[in-house]
């Protein structure tokens, strides 16, 4: 799943370790999410959205949005 986590993180000048600290996850978790190797669960996605003050769909894009809207 594509996401803009890295952009949001660098905008705030946080390292992966700092973001991991704020979310109480490992730095590897942040790296895996940023690189799209791992899709977070709904609770973690909500925690990320809350931290950045955005909606989940503003941060994560599963590429299905357009298809579903036209169905």
């Amino acid at each position: 799943m594509k996401n803009i986590l890295k952009i949001l993180r660098t905008e705030r000048g946080w390292s992966q370790a700092e973001l991991a600290d704020r979310l109480d996850v490992s730095r590897q978790s942040v790296n895996a999410i940023e690189t799209g190797k791992y899709d977070p669960s709904l609770p973690l996605a909500f925690a990320i959205a809350r931290l950045f003050g955005r909606g989940i769909e503003d941060i994560f894009d599963d590429g299905q949005g357009v298809t579903q809207a036209t169905d």
Binding site: V25, S29, A32, K37, P40, L44
Partner: protein, 134 residues
Amino acid sequence: MATLGFRTANKRYKRLFWPMMAIYVAMIFAAKWLVDEDTTPLWIRAVCAVATTAPVIGSIWAILRQTSETDEYTRARQMRALAEAGAIVACATFLVGFLQIFGVLGAVDVFWFGPAYFLAFGLSRCRTSLGPTV
């Protein structure tokens, strides 16, 4: 068991794992000093074996507890490493077993399958850290 987050789970893991390892090392030396196969009574030898195994059980409990309490990604990687280690040791057990049955290999101490599991677990953890993840 509830998820506590990466930091708390790690703290709780270290608080249990390292004392268990220290007790394990101490028990090995104590048992080595206490046990003489020819003269030590059987019950003392049995107590030494159980007492040396107890901290190993404690450290395995620490690993399993950390796995269930840590963050979801770390848990998934840990579960994968535990499963891979189990699969590797199961394969090794069959191989060694058949090599023994067909007379290729002599007696191998069952003890070594325990350390082999931890070695396989460690290698699997390293692999998931370096390569493709969950």
